[in-house]
């Protein structure tokens, strides 16, 4: 019982700390642009700073829809043909976070490098 209560308390404090840390720091959020052309991402590799929230601006220049998806980033968003989408990612610890186009996964592959 005590250990359960202890775990719950630790979880709660982690949650509160997380909420407090991620507070109102959105003033100068970096924006990274990605284009989709012929079912490919340009650039296929983007580099973003660690522990920083970043705004991804994804422009789909193909006439066909695409879905930006990443298991590592926990992101998923349908983007209509000839339109653009905004996806917020991070703050993230350093590492590699692959993403792909779920509608054309054979060609639409990319990675976010966090350093």
């Amino acid at each position: 019982m005590t250990t359960t209560r202890h775990t719950i308390r630790r979880w709660l404090s982690t949650a509160l700390a997380g909420l407090a840390l991620a507070g109102p720091a959105a003033a100068k959020m970096p924006v990274v642009e990605i284009e989709i052309r012929d079912h490919l991402f340009f650039p296929a590799e983007i580099v973003i700073p660690a522990n920083t929230k970043v705004k991804l601006l994804v422009r789909n220049l193909d006439p066909t829809p695409e879905e930006f998806e990443s298991y590592e980033l926990n992101r998923e968003k349908v983007i209509s043909g000839n339109s653009q989408a905004v996806i917020f990612i991070g703050p993230l610890p350093p590492g590699e976070y692959p993403f792909f186009g779920e509608f054309y996964p054979k060609t639409a592959q990319g990675v976010v490098r966090v350093e």
Partner: protein, 264 residues
């Protein structure tokens, strides 16, 4: 394109199919008939999915380009609320099998229609948008339709498997609360997904990832995808998602208890 469409449509079908089977078992258990809500839910969901898919661009561009996330979060939040209300009704209606026909089932059936329709709206619209890309004469249409059919078929089969499995367990008198437990997990899953959409829209702070089991059970594996559809498995969830999941899941037994207390 064949395999891509199998996986994509299977993924979208699975979640809805599993939800159908859980609701169908609960309906039968409580003396009702799934036929009373299934056709209406399918029709309403199909129509809403069509409307959503047609207006996707406009919806996506609204609210500073996070309209899609807000719409999805609203759909998932509404699903959680409807599931909780449904369970409260069950709690109030009385013990299993004695609910029978004397009670008014309009509320129950209406809530089932709503839950099913909302599930189809989100998953169905994604499939429709995917398919729309191939109706422009790109050439792969036949492979895509075949793949989608196969994916849909597998998803529905898994749903039936769960349905008959749960029903068999129920008839044997074992694990009789399993459908309600699954419904609680589904409710948690929906609220966690709603939280994730709000995080993606930068309307909610995620907090750090609480754990990482991607090496142990990758989300893209078959078991990982099945677990995602059934219990909302995610290999590296954030604090906000876990809190939302626990709240959504806990709401189900609480609603049942509250319904039970209000019984006369």
């Amino acid at each position: 394109m064949l395999l891509t469409s199998v996986i994509l449509v299977l993924q979208e079908t699975l979640e809805a199919a599993l939800l159908f089977s859980i609701l169908a078992v609960i309906t039968l258990r409580s003396g009702g008939r799934p036929r009373a809500w299934l056709p209406a839910g399918l029709l309403l969901g199909g129509a809403l999915a069509f409307v959503y898919a047609l207006n996707l661009r406009r919806i996506s561009e609204s609210f500073d380009y996070v309209g899609q996330e807000l719409t999805n979060a609203a759909l998932q939040l509404a699903m959680t609320v409807a599931i909780v209300a449904l369970v409260a009704w069950l709690g109030r209606a009385g013990p299993w099998n004695t609910v029978a026909a004397q009670r008014d089932r309009t509320v129950f059936n209406g809530l089932c229609v709503l839950v099913i329709a909302l599930a189809i709206t989100r998953e169905g619209s994604e499939v429709l948008v995917f398919l729309s890309g191939f109706f422009t004469g790109a050439g792969a249409l036949r492979a895509v339709l075949l793949g989608s059919g196969v994916g849909f078929g597998i998803g529905v089969s898994v749903g039936f498997l769960l349905f008959y499995g749960l029903l068999a367990l129920d008839r044997e008198g074992r694990w009789r609360s399993l459908p309600l437990v699954l419904l609680a997990l589904f409710s948690g899953n929906m609220l966690a997904q709603a939280a994730l959409q709000l995080i993606q829209a930068d309307w909610l702070q995620a907090g750090p990832a609480l754990w990482d089991t991607s090496a142990w059970l990758p989300e893209q594996s078959i078991v990982g995808r099945l677990s995602y559809a059934l219990i909302g498995y995610e290999s590296n969830p954030s604090v906000a998602e876990v809190v939302a999941y626990l709240a959504g899941a806990a709401a189900v037994p609480l609603a049942y208890a509250a319904g039970r207390r209000s019984r006369r």
